[in-house]
Every structure is written in structure tokens, then in C-alpha cells.
């Protein structure tokens, strides 16, 4: 084959161009630390990254939702615990009021004390969290109990998703804890105790003692359920965190450039590029013409 100057130069320039392209790609990978900066770098890998990124966003959102809901339930649990304590105090007052040593005067004073506890109970039942009144069911924008203890909330249940198709309750039912929906009307029962005390009605007071026990169990049952749901949500956040780590690992396997590999490839390509430049220079200097 007859060799001409343009043939030699053309081949050298093509090789030089290829080496420069490889150098640019490797430089980009080593600078960014990523193997995939655009879909054409690895079309299937790009698709995998998009899916994994979406998965990570969902997991992150579920983690935040589970944590927020858990905090909400803890708030409800604490409020219900305080409500249980109040019912305990009311029961103690009822026990004292039912004893023969108390007179009408001391029972009237006890009634005042119970009325104070009723106000505290209403205040607890109107506890407000970051997303509204926590015992109003889904009616979270207004206090569910008025000053007289009448309930205006509902039995609506809110949930959060912690996994595909897995929902956990994220609110404690105020209706079940404080109203007849859960068995009896706790606030009305306390008001009945206050009425019995102020009316010096020993039979009524005695009846309230058992009712306070039943009410306490009613409140405690909702508190236990809220605590259990909170625990489930906390366990979910741990699971979500480990799933997030696994997904991030899968992502880095697809996208992260292995530094030592990229570095050695970069060094090898640099050498090849330098060599191709030298070859080009040599071709340009090789000639039977002396140049003067």
C-alpha cells in the first residue's frame, strides 16, 4: 500500500482524538465521582438510578411521616396518662367523700376540687399538636371539647404509610378515650361526681367510685393502643433507615466511580494521549525534505 502524508496524519489525529475523548470522560468521572452523568453513559444504569432515587425519596418521606406520627402518638399517650392520673385523683376524692367522716361542707369543697379536675381533663382532651387538636379525630382544626365537656370531634382515624400497603394508625381516638363511643362519657362522669359531692349525695358518690375506675380503664386502653402504635412506628423508622442504607449502597454500586480504578485508567490514558501527541509531532517532522 502506498503511504501518503495525509494518511499518516489522519490516522494519528483520529487516535489522538479518541485518546482526548477518553481523557475527558475519565477526568469528568474522577472530578464528579460518578460514573453516570448522562443517560448515554449507561442507559440501563441511568434507569436504575432514577428508580432508586424515587425509592429513596419515598423511604425518606415515610421515615419523616413515621417519626412525626410517632411523636404525635407520644403526645397523645402523655396526655392520656395525665388524664388517667386525673381520674385517679377524682377517684381518691370520691373515696374520701364517700366516707362517713366527711360532712356536707367538706364534700362541697371536694366538689370544687373535682370541678377543677374536670377543667384540667377538658384541657387535656383539647391538647393541640403540630397538626392540630389530637383528640378530635379528623376534625383537627377546632377544640373537640367545649367548656361544658360536649364533644364535637369524630371517630376519624388517620394513618401513615410505613411500607407498600402497610398503614399504621397515627392518631389516638378522643372519642374512644373520653366519650360514650369508648364506653362512657368520662367528663360527664366527673361532672356527675362533682354534682354528687356538692349535693352531699353519698350514694351518687359511691356510684362514681366504680365509674372512675371504668373511665380510667377506658382512657388507659386508648393510651396503650397509642403507645403500641408509636412503638410500631418507631420500629418502622429503624427498618426504613436500614432499607435506605441498602438502597443507597445499591445506588453507589451503580453510580460511584471507583477512585483507584478511575485513577489508574486516567494515568494510562494520559500516557497514551501524550504518546499520540508525540507520534503526531514525529510524523510532522519526518520528511525527506530537510526544511532548508
Amino acid at each position: 500500500m502506498r503511504i501518503t502524508d495525509s494518511m499518516m496524519l489522519g490516522t494519528a489525529l483520529l487516535d489522538e482524538s479518541r485518546n482526548a475523548q477518553s481523557l475527558a470522560t475519565l477526568s469528568q468521572e474522577s472530578a464528579s465521582g460518578n460514573l453516570i452523568s448522562q443517560p448515554s453513559d449507561d442507559p440501563a444504569g441511568f434507569g436504575t438510578l432514577v428508580s432508586l432515587d424515587a425509592r429513596l425519596t419515598v423511604l425518606q418521606g415515610r421515615g419523616v411521616a413515621a417519626t412525626t406520627a410517632s411523636q404525635n402518638l407520644d403526645l397523645a399517650s402523655n396526655a392520656l396518662s395525665s388524664a388517667s392520673d386525673i381520674l385517679d385523683q377524682a377517684k381518691q376524692i370520691a373515696l374520701e367523700g364517700a366516707s362517713g367522716s366527711d360532712d356536707a361542707q367538706s364534700r362541697a369543697e371536694a366538689a370544687t376540687e373535682v370541678n377543677g379536675l374536670v377543667a384540667q381533663m377538658i384541657s387535656l382532651a383539647n391538647t393541640e399538636g403540630p397538626s392540630g387538636y389530637i383528640f378530635g379525630g379528623t376534625l383537627t382544626s377546632a377544640p373537640p371539647f367545649d367548656a361544658a365537656g360536649n364533644y364535637s370531634g369524630n371517630s376519624g382515624v388517620t394513618r401513615v404509610a410505613v411500607a407498600d400497603g402497610v398503614l399504621v394508625d397515627s392518631n389516638a381516638s378522643g372519642a374512644d378515650a373520653f366519650t360514650v363511643a369508648g364506653g362512657s362519657n368520662v367528663i360527664a362522669d366527673m361532672q356527675a361526681l362533682a354534682t354528687a359531692l356538692s349535693g352531699n349525695d353519698v350514694a351518687g358518690i359511691n356510684a362514681s367510685i366504680g365509674q372512675m375506675d371504668a373511665d380510667q380503664q377506658q382512657v388507659t386502653a386508648v393510651m396503650v393502643q397509642a403507645g403500641a402504635n408509636s412503638s410500631t412506628l418507631q420500629a418502622s423508622t429503624t427498618l426504613i433507615a436500614s432499607l435506605t442504607t441498602a438502597t443507597e449502597t445499591a445506588r453507589s454500586t451503580v453510580d460511584n466511580a471507583q477512585t483507584p480504578t478511575v485513577y489508574s485508567e486516567l494515568a494510562a490514558t494520559e500516557t497514551a494521549y501524550q504518546a499520540s501527541l508525540s507520534v503526531t509531532q514525529q510524523i510532522l517532522s519526518l520528511s525527506a525534505f530537510t526544511g532548508g
Partner: protein, 465 residues
């Protein structure tokens, strides 16, 4: 032959030798001067011994200059240049598609993730105004992003149509020049000249035309010249075709060709090579494939989201409102994607509860919406997977176009090398030719000097005698 006649013959032979070697030096000089001229084919001085019937028998005559040209290697180069032109323009167009569909940051995938993430926030705070505003903002950004991507693809198709028009304009100029050169070459040949420079220009133009549309050249023994491209003759001797480009009813490129005064004929399906072939494939096949996928994603996503939103209740207790303007057809769904006017600017219109009684704390609609992120839309893909499929399509198209471009760079280089092996200039070879013809010229001059000296002696002897 007498002695005197022989000496005069020697003088003529020497003179013919000097003229012939000068022609060789001229050829070497021309070759050296044009070593870097695109399209230049090496020339050789054709030297022949003079006819024995001639009075200068034994001398040399310059029978003309010939180009070193091989139709096979030149044709192979044209083929590769046509394929290379297509690969270059397609690769460039797909690079732009890639930057539209998958920019280095803020991709459509990110907007889809943000949209569902906003619903996850709403899930825990369905009555919260900022969570609702977050949903509305994310939905707006998603709709804008989908619509901007679709409009970007449409704009790129429009730009490629404009570019095709520019290439066709240049192509027609080149075809006209080739036809004009054919006329000049025929005239020069008719008068016995060797128009190598005109042939160089014509081959260079044919090479450019091939890069533009993919061409082949056929010449016969009579010197008839035909340039074929797009499945038809675009130049026939001194007649050039006029190529036209327009948009058909489907908004695809349509190419026509009219040779001389002939009627335009449709050559669209034949335009598969050269810049125009690459533009056509990128514009009317690759980009439309991507745009269709985007439309399908927009249609499926809007329909699924609207199904949940319209069945739910806003904070104001109103139901039956879509989040996105519901597209009626898949085609055009992406470009038209926008927030429904009944919801736009009103975060309270976002439905988080599936019942009126559930407002404001009910979150089942918000949960259902957030769970769409992990559920198939339409056929089988989740929203993110549908975007991933678009990205993978663009990536595969772009990667294959880039691979094709690299392959064609190599095959063009190889074809040019083969063609250069026949037609190219080797400076070393020309250096040898310079030496060769210079020495021969000096020798012929020496012959002339010797003959002159001998004639001088003969004249002196005759005068003395």
C-alpha cells in the same frame, strides 16, 4: 542518416528530454504545493518516447498530465462520508434531546419525587396550610417541567426542520456547481485539455454533497457523469436537480427532487444518509419516540392523580376538582400539562380526605396519592419508572448514535486512507521525483552541451578543411 543530421537529432532529443523533465518537475511541484488541498488528486506527467516516424525519434514527449484516481476507493469514501454525516447530525441532535430530558440537575424524575414527597408531608399534616402550599408548588413544578420538556422537544424538531432547510440550500448550490463543472470539464476535454483542477473541484464537491445527503457517483467511458442520492439522480452531466424540503401533514420532513425542468418527485424515504438523513431520523423517529413516551407518562400521571384528587375533598369541603387539567388524548398530553384552574392558587382545594366528614384532618386521599409513587400507572411502570424508561430510551438512542459516530470516524478515516493511497501526495515520493527529474534534466542539458560541442568542432573542421 548523415552525421550532421544525427547531431541535429541529438540536439532535438536533448531538448525534448529537458522539456519532458521540466514537465515532471512541474508535476512534482504541483503535487507538493497541493499536498494539503482537500480533494486534490496527485498528478503525473505522462512521458512517452517519440514515434520512430518522427524526425526526433528516440526523444521524449509529454503526452499529458493524468490524475491518480480510483473510482472504487473514491466511491467507498463517499459512502462512508454519507454515513458519517448522518451519524454526526443524529448524535448532535440526540445530545440536545438528552440535555432536555435528563439535565445534569433538576430532572423530571426529581420533580416526580418532590411531588409525591409533598404528599407524604401532607399525609402527616393534612390541615396544614404550608403542607398544602408545598403540594401545590410541587405539582406546579412537575407540570411545568413536563410541559417544558415536551415544548423543548417540539422546538428542537422545529430547529432541525430549519437546519434541514439550510442544508438543502447549500446542497442545491453544490449540485448546481457540480453540473457547471461537468459542462466545463466536457468542454475542456473536447479541446484536448486535461482539466485535472476542475475534476478535483468536482470530486471535492461530490464529497461535500455526500456528507450532506449520502451520494454515489457514476461515470462511464464516454465521460457521462451522474450523481445519485436519495434514490434518484441529483446531477446528470450539466443538469442539476433542485432538492426541496417541507413538512408533511404529519409534521414530518418531506424531501422532493426535480431534475432540470422535470416535475418534483418524492425522495423522502431515500434520504437515509448524510446530514439530512441523520436529521430526518433524529427528528421524525428518535424525538417522536421520546415525545410519545413523555405524552404517555403525562396522560397516565394526570389521570391517576386526578382520579384521587377529584374523588377527595378540599379544606373547603368541595369535591370533584382535578389537580391537573385532564388531557382528553395521549397525544399532546405532556405539552398541555398544567394545574387545573379550579385548584391553581388555592392550596385549600387540595384533597387530603376522601370524605367531607374527614376534613380537615382526614388524610386517606393524601396517603393514596403518596402511594401512587410506588404503584404502576397504566401498563406497568411507576411514575419514576416511566421517567426512567424515557431516560433509558434517550440514553440508548444517544449511546448508539455516539457509537455510530465513532465507528464512522474510523471508517471514514480508513476510506480516506485508501483513497489517499491512490490519489494522495507523498512528500517523500515527490522529493524523490524532484531529484529524479532534476538529474534527468541535468543529463539532458549535458547531452545538449555535448551535441553543441560536437557540432562546434564539426563546423571548425569544415572551415579549416
Amino acid at each position: 542518416m548523415t552525421m550532421t543530421g544525427s547531431l541535429f537529432g541529438l540536439l532535438n532529443i536533448a531538448q525534448s528530454g529537458m522539456a519532458a523533465q521540466s514537465a515532471g518537475l512541474d508535476a512534482a511541484g504541483e503535487n507538493i504545493s497541493n499536498v494539503n488541498t482537500p480533494g486534490y488528486a496527485m498528478v503525473t506527467a505522462n512521458l512517452e518516447t517519440t514515434d520512430t516516424a518522427d524526425s526526433f525519434a528516440g526523444g521524449v514527449v509529454v503526452a499529458g498530465m493524468s490524475r491518480s484516481f480510483d473510482a472504487l476507493t473514491f466511491g467507498s469514501m463517499l459512502t462512508q462520508q454519507g454515513l458519517g454525516g448522518a451519524a454526526d447530525s443524529r448524535s448532535e441532535a440526540l445530545g440536545q434531546v438528552q440535555s432536555l430530558v435528563a439535565p445534569s440537575s433538576g430532572t423530571l424524575g426529581d420533580d416526580i419525587d418532590s411531588f409525591f414527597s409533598a404528599y407524604q408531608t401532607l399525609e402527616t399534616s393534612p390541615g396544614d396550610a404550608s403542607a398544602r402550599a408545598g403540594v401545590l408548588q410541587a405539582a406546579g413544578e412537575l407540570a411545568d417541567s413536563v410541559s417544558a420538556t415536551a415544548n423543548g422537544l417540539s422546538s428542537q424538531r422545529a430547529s432541525l426542520a430549519t437546519e434541514a432547510g439550510s442544508v438543502v440550500t447549500t446542497l442545491n448550490q453544490n449540485l448546481a456547481q457540480i453540473a457547471a463543472l461537468n459542462t466545463q470539464i466536457a468542454a475542456a476535454r473536447g479541446s484536448g485539455d486535461a482539466p485535472t483542477d476542475l475534476e478535483d473541484q468536482r470530486d471535492q464537491l461530490a464529497s461535500t454533497v455526500s456528507t450532506e445527503i449520502g451520494a454515489q457517483v457514476v461515470t462511464d467511458d464516454n465521460g457521462d457523469y451522474t450523481l445519485l442520492a436519495g434514490g434518484t439522480a441529483l446531477v446528470a452531466n450539466g443538469t442539476a436537480a433542485t432538492v426541496g424540503v417541507s413538512l408533511d401533514s404529519a409534521n414530518d420532513l418531506a424531501f422532493t427532487s426535480a431534475l432540470g425542468t422535470g416535475l418534483p418527485q418524492d425522495i423522502t424515504t431515500g434520504v437515509t444518509a448524510g446530514t439530512l438523513g441523520g436529521i430526518r431520523e433524529a427528528r421524525d423517529s428518535d424525538i417522536t419516540t421520546v415525545a410519545s413516551q413523555l405524552d404517555q407518562l403525562a396522560f397516565n400521571l394526570s389521570t391517576a392523580v386526578n382520579g384521587i384528587q377529584s374523588a377527595g375533598y378540599g379544606l373547603d369541603g368541595v369535591t370533584g376538582r382535578n389537580l391537573f387539567t385532564q388531557p382528553t388524548t395521549v397525544a399532546g398530553a405532556a405539552a398541555a400539562m398544567a394545574i387545573d384552574p379550579r385548584v391553581a392558587g388555592d392550596p385549600s382545594a387540595i384533597a387530603a380526605s376522601s370524605t367531607a366528614a374527614g376534613v380537615p384532618g382526614g388524610n386517606d386521599s393524601a396517603i393514596a396519592m403518596a402511594q401512587l409513587a410506588s404503584q404502576p400507572l397504566g401498563a406497568s411502570d411507576t411514575p419514576a419508572d416511566a421517567y426512567a424508561a424515557i431516560g433509558t430510551t434517550v440514553g440508548n438512542l444517544s449511546a448508539s448514535a455516539n457509537d455510530e459516530q465513532s465507528l464512522r470516524q474510523a471508517t471514514i478515516s480508513q476510506a480516506q486512507a485508501l483513497n489517499s493511497s491512490v490519489s494522495g501526495v507523498s512528500l517523500d515520493q515527490e522529493m524523490a521525483h524532484l531529484d529524479q527529474f532534476q538529474r534527468a534534466y541535468e543529463a539532458s542539458a549535458q547531452v545538449l552541451q555535448t551535441a553543441d560541442s560536437m557540432l562546434g568542432e564539426l563546423m571548425t573542421d569544415m572551415q579549416d578543411g
